[in-house]
């Protein structure tokens, strides 16, 4: 297959639609540059932008979150907003499936809760709860339950049994914090790590997958063999090893959530890259791609306007599975003591409750309710992922 090399890419730029795409890329790069400058300024202590804007000290995870939001805004929300007819068509097809619609609504609720919930519940406050008298944390069962408890009680105390109160509808954690508030705070953490994971996985997988498909030959062989090796190394072990190495350097035992996300993001793009590659290979042979090539479109532009949009549906499904893995892995790592000890994630709430001396007589609510929330989120992701494969696939009728 011959691929003409066109020196001046302006030929394709004459097309109005293409130049808008290019403008978007430039805008994204601009935002990225501003972010980098701000990060460096913040890091060197020249200008604490996070304090000025949010009166809150950004961690590495927060910076990555901002980057990830920029990626999603420019390459997910913006295209959906610009191409309204296509979005409406997706929506119509999604509406046909009741369960997919329900999952979509649930996930939108999660995103909104994660974005705006913490403004009400303040997850940035230290992870210590409200103290009762004498500095003993409250132990409050959920509404409708009562426990035998000698300590402070916010609800009605009848015959020495502490009853649940609507002040803490789902009870309190062993630290005396409201479980509802911790679930909301955990939603923010879950949103952060999922969005970061997507913003790492998808660009990497797309670049590698399309490079392998476009150049073929040795490049393809090398990249795919590398993916093979990378996929045969379980991320779980790399996280353990990395946390240990980091612990050696920091000399403390707490794990880093940033590290978990980074390792997960950089270890798990292989499967998606494979999907992108096979989609791209299939597309290389199609007539409209041939036509585009003959018309003088550059390889880069072909990949962007034809290959990536067509691979999106399979990428979506793969990404929903990966996010689910990440959320589940995070709770497991917390339980094993190598998760974050400073982020109020769902895993943190579950672990502190499950490791409490009074579990499971007390504090079962601190495990059960976050687990239900997590399960709902993961099930919704799975259903939507499976449905999206059908909805966004241009080859489906």
């Amino acid at each position: 297959m011959s691929r003409p090399i066109i020196a001046n890419e302006e030929v394709a730029d004459a097309d109005g639609r293409d130049s808008r795409l290019a403008r978007r890329d430039w805008a994204f790069l601009g935002v990225l540059a501003v972010l980098t400058v701000l990060l460096v300024a913040d890091w060197r202590g020249a200008f604490r932008v996070d304090y000025v804007l949010f009166s809150y000290d950004f961690t590495g995870l927060d910076w990555l979150f901002v980057y990830a939001l920029a990626v999603l805004a420019f390459y997910f929300v913006l295209p959906l907003a610009i191409k309204r007819r296509r979005t409406a068509a997706y929506w119509r097809r999604l509406r046909a499936d009741r369960w997919a619609t329900a999952s979509f609504v649930v996930l939108v609720a999660f995103v909104l809760l994660g974005l705006f919930g913490p403004l009400v519940f303040h997850p940035d406050r230290p992870v210590f709860g409200e103290m009762g008298p004498y500095g003993v944390p409250l132990t409050q069962p959920p509404v409708g339950f009562d426990i035998l408890w000698g300590g402070p009680c916010a609800g009605a105390e009848i015959d020495g049994r502490c009853h649940g109160t609507w002040q803490y509808p789902l009870g309190t954690t062993p630290g005396g914090k409201d479980v509802v508030g911790m679930i909301v705070a955990g939603t923010r953490v879950a949103l952060e790590i999922s969005v970061i994971c997507v913003a790492l996985l998808v660009p990497l997988a797309t670049v590698v997958g399309t490079t392998a498909a476009t150049y073929g030959g040795r490049v393809d062989e090398f990249l795919m063999r590398y993916v093979d090796i990378q996929q045969s190394i379980p991320a779980f072990f790399v996280i353990i090893l990395a946390q240990e190495t980091l612990g050696y350097i920091n000399k403390d035992t707490g794990g880093s959530l940033l590290l978990v996300v980074l390792v997960f993001g950089f270890m798990n793009w292989g499967g998606i890259a494979r999907i992108v590659r096979s989609e791209a290979l299939e597309l290389q042979e199609q007539s409209h791609v041939h036509a585009a090539r003959i018309a003088g479109m550059s390889e880069f532009r072909i990949v962007r306007t034809h290959v990536v949009p067509n691979a999106l549906s399979t990428i979506f499904t793969a990404v929903t599975v990966q996010i689910s893995w990440l959320l589940l892995l995070e709770t497991t790592l917390s339980f094993l003591g190598i998760g974050s000890k400073v982020h109020p994630s769902w895993g943190y709430v579950m672990t502190t409750s499950a490791r409490s001396d009074f579990f499971p007589t007390h504090h079962w609510w601190g495990v059960l309710f976050p687990a239900i929330v997590l399960a709902v989120a993961v099930v919704a992701l799975q259903i939507l992922g499976d449905a999206l494969r059908d909805v966004t696939d241009p080859r489906m009728k």
Partner: protein
Amino acid sequence: MNRKQYLVYRLVWTVVGAWGALSGIFLAFALAPDPGQYKICPGGGCRAAYRAARNYDAPLHERYLSWMEGFLTFDLGTTVRGEPIAGVLADASTVTLTYLVLSVALAVIAGVGVGLFVAMRPDSKLLRAVRAVSYVGFAIPTFVAALGVFFVAVEYLGIYTLEYDHEQALFTARNLVALTLPAGVVTVNLFAIQLRYARSESVDILQRDFIRALHARGMGTAVVVRHVLKNGATSLLSVFFSELVGVVFVVLVVVEVIFDIPGFGQLLYRGIQQRDLGIILATTTFPILLVMVGNFVQDVAYTIIDPRIESGAE
């Protein structure tokens, strides 16, 4: 490329990958200071001995060579307590393999069987029910499920003999019974995942033309099943390696910690808790190498199952 060349080629890649992984781990740990030297010898009296025992003061390339040699000869050094790691690892692995092999086999066979069964009955209530089960089974964190099972067994059913007795040998009636509960949790967890892939893979294959041709020729269910299995085998095998293996280890650690089984997972957990570098390295590096070898075996199996692969095209 003929089959022999292809396999040699893949073998070379496996060796290169294993070497890369080992070297990477060595470098990460060689460049980071070991806190054990401060923790075990707070006064600093035995630090020199600690460092000498671990060869920390030798030049980097000598340490690298002895590290590689150690892995190749299964000479893994000793734990913080002085037990040989190779022996500890072998004991723990025996316990784990005793129930794991059966669990994985059961989960894979049942997962593929049920997945194929429901895929052949599209739009049925059964398909929906199975989908729901696999979604939910996947979505509940293992440690929550294991805790739930544990407390139901102990608190509500009053079964106390299910706890592993560390005083007794592995192959005694009591301890083998104690393995059933963790084995059950592992099986259900893997079953849910395998079911998901087997179902979607089977649905995919069942839509192809040759299946319709089979139906048109009036072939029975058994023939269709055989064709689907033959066509799906390669991708299901690769799902097994790329997805299940990663999950198996996570599930193992959680289950063994909760049910207090002195197996591989607990050894890894203990290594993390006691910050025993030797144990952590042995329990993470060996599975990584094992999976790489497994991947190679998978490639060999591919060429036997699916003759199309021999041509070199994927």
